[in-house]
């Protein structure tokens, strides 16, 4: 029965529009048999074979693309299909199968444990999982009318998705709050301590200090380390003490982070976005989204951010949110036990992650849609929206920075920009694209070197060396000494009365170009250190460093423009707007645009990037500058190097990710890619002539992850497809549970009515047989094949010739083929 539905639904999945009638017709059990629910509806009234074989045939036909609306049509097509294949008895075979299916109604419907799950490093079969969910949904709907309890269960099933994303949003917000507060406190621990309330960072410590005169640096409550020990504040001695403390704390934090990651959860290292992308595209990495990864990633992130390394916490926040999503999905079996459905929750969680990282809920949803998600139906869009909203709300109520916003570098702008400024903005976009590409290339080269050389054997030592270098070089320069978020805030801000910083000093005295000079040094330092930092074995993201790089460049360009306007306020390009007074150019705005440009160049995002940036600044009027910069940066970036950093890292690690952005441009055919190659045999199962021993031998001798089932070795007509894992589980289960099964028992994949009695009872495995595998002919161009793999999320597809089974194409074969044609090593694909 189940099986029967599976393949019926498989057909339905290919034409989702047809499935929309499901819920309406279910409510009237005696509706005419024109909908897909006919089987279920009829189940209560008894079994009618004549009706039952219709949907099956329909599924065969719909998969060829003919849509049918009524029973009469169907009968016509039935005639056609017979007349079209006069030389084969395929249709007869099919009707035999349909008869078999009818007898399955009485069979027990409880599953063999473990069926529908996947092994580590396997890809999931989206079609199969979605069909399973439909079946489950149908079952719930049918039971709904039986009792109140079932009604409640049905209601719970219906809202469990929303409930799950609600929890995910709540906990993501809390986790982000904890990380924000913890990281800002620990960052300031490098400089000093608040003796009266050690849990406060410097800003919070001085929060209510009532000092009328303000030198911008220190308040009496906050004690720097030299003050704690030697009571003095200025001079060479205290400077060296501060320097030492800075390095020591940085080393302590970094070593803790690296060793915690190594000890408890190695999967917590890195940014996590390439892996999340791969997982969302249908790959299984067990433990990557587990409890320990969550804890260690959060703690390690706090530690590595506070160590002052050139990394950010925004990317890993997406990973943390996905861990939370994964953990909560286990509370709801509908999502926890179905990998395809679980990915809907993970998509929503990724949105919540970006939402809390930047305080940008809409940007988060768009990020999930544009950058990480693979399968993104509208339902998921709404759930992501809700999840991002809840997470942002929770984080804002926690108010981690005391500024009523969820990010430290939130700025509010309301100054108009001149039309002419678009030109510097576009130039900034071009610079951003160049910096982004440069960064990607250098970082990839370094990562490849780390992977292949001896350096990779000393992960903790590497972290320590980079930390010492970072700390030693960073301290003397005040712009690199402060945390990267603070620097970004400083660069984004416009100069007002409250600014005592050097950055705003030049207006009064331009002869002092010290700040610009320091900024250039900071830029070079950040660029080089980030190249070596990203990819180390600590949790590290790269949004913040690239935003910072861009903000520095932007600010410098902005200062230049401002000086230009200040010196020559009347030239044509400022079109009278600067002639009235000062302040017609805002360098902070240039910093924002530059930040967007570099981030766009590194990640190749466009829409989500612009939305994130404008949610950060709260100014709708800057959308056009941001769009111009993002677009210019993407063009330049794509022209110089085709991949963004995440895709490049996916390629470096060889994750099995079929990018839907790439086009397949070669003219190969399915026959060139399919397994087995010439001179090799195709390992198959027959539907009713193999014994348990034969099957076990086949499982022992081969390593394929699935086997096609055919009618007989002679005819080679295809019946279906069975997965190795399911076969193993079913055999083990049968040996344990069923009596009389031994090595001589026949394994049959039909219902076994027309098989003559044997000495041993046969082992019926029809339940695990997928009777609707996707089939193509051997002359199908690979373009179509790759498209089908991408769009349907297939795991394998069967190749036929003249209606007979010829071979199998798996996702692995496709990925290897693509790599081969791109002149890369096909064996680098990580796959089981």
């Amino acid at each position: 029965m189940r099986n029967y539905q599976v393949h019926e639904y498989d057909a339905m999945e290919k034409f989702p529009l047809k499935g929309t009638s499901t819920s309406t017709s279910l409510n009237k059990p005696n509706s005419p048999l024109t909908t897909y629910n006919s089987v279920d509806a009829k189940k209560g009234n008894g079994i009618e074979n004549s009706n039952i074989d219709n949907p099956s045939i329909r599924s065969e036909i719909t998969s060829r693309g003919i849509s049918i609306s009524s029973d009469e049509d169907m009968l016509d097509v039935k005639q056609q299909s017979v007349s079209h294949h006069p030389e084969s008895n395929q249709f007869l075979e099919r009707s035999v199968r349909v008869d078999d299916a009818s007898s399955h109604f009485s069979a027990d419907s409880d599953d063999i444990p473990g069926i529908g799950q996947y092994d580590d490093f396997h890809t999931i079969d989206w079609q199969r999982d979605i069909a399973r969910d439909r079946m489950h949904h149908r079952y719930i709907l049918k039971k709904k009318h039986d009792s109140i309890w079932d009604l409640i269960k049905g209601a719970h099933d219906a809202w469990s998705g929303w409930l799950c994303v609600l929890f995910v949003g709540l906990f993501t917000g809390v986790a982000a709050g904890v990380i924000d507060i913890g990281a800002s406190w620990m960052t300031d621990l490098k400089f000093g301590i608040c003796p009266q309330a050690f849990w406060l960072n410097k800003e919070q410590c001085c929060w209510s200090s009532n000092e009328t005169s303000f030198d911008g640096d220190n308040c009496s409550q906050w004690r720097t380390w030299p003050e704690v020990f030697s009571q003095s504040k200025n001079g060479a001695g205290p400077y060296i003490i501060s320097y030492m403390f800075y390095i020591a704390w940085a080393l302590l934090f970094a070593s803790l982070s690296a060793s915690l990651v190594r000890m408890f959860a190695p999967y917590a290292c890195g940014s996590g976005i390439p892996e999340i992308k791969t997982i969302l595209s249908g790959f299984i990495i067990r433990g990557y989204l587990g409890k320990w990864t969550l804890i260690i990633k959060s703690v390690g992130l706090i530690l590595s951010v506070s160590a002052g390394l050139s990394l950010g916490k925004e990317g890993p926040m997406v990973h943390i949110a996905c861990c939370i999503g994964n953990i909560f999905s286990y509370l709801f079996p509908k999502y926890g036990k179905n990998e395809a459905k679980k990915r809907e929750i993970l998509s929503a969680a990724a949105a919540a992650g970006v939402s809390v990282a930047f305080g940008a809920p809409i940007g988060g949803v768009l990020f999930s849609l544009e950058e990480v998600s693979y399968y993104f139906p509208l339902k998921t869009l709404w759930r992501s929206f809700f999840c991002a909203l809840v997470a942002a709300f929770v984080l804002r109520s926690i108010n981690p920075f005391g500024n009523k916003h969820s990010v430290l570098f939130y700025v509010e702008y309301n100054k108009p920009w001149i039309f002419f400024e678009l030109i510097p903005f576009i130039i900034l976009g071009i610079i951003g694209g160049i910096i982004g590409t440069l960064f990607i290339k250098a970082n990839l080269r370094w990562c490849r070197y780390r992977k292949s050389s001896k350096l990779g054997q000393y992960p903790v030592t590497e972290v320590l060396v980079v930390t010492v270098l970072t700390a030693v070089i960073a301290y003397p320069n005040p712009y690199t000494r402060m945390s990267t978020s603070q620097l970004i805030y400083l660069l984004f801000r416009k100069c007002g009365v409250s600014d005592t910083d050097m950055l705003c000093d030049y207006q009064r005295n331009f002869a002092d170009v010290n700040s610009v000079y320091l900024l250039v040094l900071a830029f070079i330092f950040k660029l080089i250190m980030t190249i070596f930092t990203f990819g180390m074995k600590v949790p590290c993201g790269l949004f913040i460093p690239s935003l910072c790089l861009g903000a520095i460049v932007g600010r410098i360009v902005g200062i230049g423009m401002e000086q230009l306007a200040h010196q020559y306020p009347h030239i044509w390009m400022f079109s009278e707007e600067c002639s009235t007074g000062e302040d017609c150019i805002t360098p902070g705005l240039y910093a924002i645009v530059g930040a967007a440009a570099v981030l766009g160049g590194v990640t190749r995002m466009t829409v989500s990037l612009v939305v994130i940036m404008f949610e950060l600044t709260g100014g709708v009027r800057y959308i056009v500058p941001l769009m111009a910069a993002a677009m210019a940066s993407k063009w330049v970036g794509d022209a110089l190097g085709k991949q963004g950093i995440y895709d490049a890292h996916i390629g470096l690690n060889g994750y099995p990710f079929l990018d839907s952005k790439d086009e397949f441009q070669h003219t190969t055919l399915a026959a060139d890619v399919m397994q087995p190659k010439r001179n090799e045999t195709l390992h198959v199962l027959t539907q009713d002539s193999m014994t348990v021993e034969d099957v076990e031998n086949l499982l022992k001798e081969t390593e394929h992850n699935g086997f096609p089932v055919i009618v007989s070795k002679e005819s080679q007509y295809l019946v279906g497809f069975v997965l190795r894992r399911d076969l193993n589980l079913a055999l083990a289960n049968a040996k344990r549970m069923l009596e009389g099964i031994n090595r001589q028992s026949l394994v049959i994949f039909t219902s076994g009515n027309n098989i003559q009695t044997h000495t041993h009872p046969p082992l019926k495995l029809k339940k695990i047989l997928d009777m609707a595998p996707i089939t193509i002919t051997d002359q199908t161009p690979m373009e179509t094949v790759v498209d089908m793999f991408r769009k349907l999320g297939l795991r394998q597809m069967l190749v036929t010739h003249n209606g007979r089974l010829l071979g199998v194409i798996t996702k692995k074969d496709v990925l290897r083929h693509v790599k081969q044609l791109d002149d890369e090593d096909p064996n680098s694909v990580l796959f089981n």
Binding site: P113, G114, Q117, G177, I181, G182, W185, Q196, A197, F198, W199, L200, Q204, W207, S208, S209, N210, E211, T212, S213, F214, D215, G216, L256, S259, L260, R262, M263, F264, A265, P266, Y267, C269, G270, E275, G287, I295, V299, L303, N399, G402, N403, R450, K451, S452, G456, Q457, P459, G496, V497, S498, T500, G535, K537, H649, L652, N653, G654, A732, L830
Partner: protein
């Protein structure tokens, strides 16, 4: 473990609750130095910074700045006040305190556990192995096979055994997973490079 540590946090919280001297609301006004506004050459160039605890509606130049330095600027309020920047802010020090204490707790627990795993456990294991011989290893193997075939089984078996055993099994399973992860990342470099 969680309960213990939440209890600890609460304990610390209640002990220290009374010591709290930091306010959660403030009105902060930043003004340029008087010298720069009044064009007097003398005086310091420092920016002025006023923080008081007044209601949100009174958080402006007139309510905060003038009472303090009104005599210095005299009739120049119209020039001085528009240049001041007043903001009403609030925060929650309790949340900050709890979070920081939790973070310290978690980090120290993890470090202690890590040190335990590095230093003490090899010693304990050595003693255990000497006592039981090869039997322990054999059992361990069987358990592994069971869990890999049927994930649901280990739990069912664990219910029958005592709690300690179950925790031990879980820990073994987790350790195996971590070892596998370590091999993937640090030795074979197949992932997360």
């Amino acid at each position: 473990m969680w309960k213990l540590f939440i209890a600890n946090v609460l304990l610390i919280y209640f002990i220290q609750c009374k010591a709290q001297s930091y306010e959660d609301k403030r009105c902060k006004c930043i003004c340029p130095s008087i010298a720069s506004v009044l064009n007097t050459t003398s005086g310091d160039k420092n920016v002025l910074n006023f923080i008081t605890n007044v209601p949100a509606t009174k958080c402006n130049c007139e309510g905060v700045v003038l009472p303090k330095i009104g005599d210095k600027i005299k009739e120049k309020e119209q020039i001085f006040c528009p240049r001041c920047d007043c903001k009403y802010e609030n925060r929650n020090t309790t949340i900050i305190k709890i979070v920081v204490i939790i973070v310290i707790w978690v980090i120290s627990l993890l470090v202690i556990y890590m040190l335990f795993l590095i230093c003490l456990e090899p010693l304990l294991n050595k003693r255990l192995h000497k006592a039981t011989g090869g039997v322990g290893y054999q059992e361990h193997n069987n358990e592994e096979d069971d869990t890999s075939v049927a994930p649901g089984m280990s739990h069912a078996m664990g219910v029958r055994g005592n709690v300690l055993n179950r925790v031990g099994h879980q820990q073994d399973k987790w350790k195996r997973q971590v070892r596998e992860q370590r091999r993937n990342i640090y030795d074979r470099h197949t992932m997360l490079n």
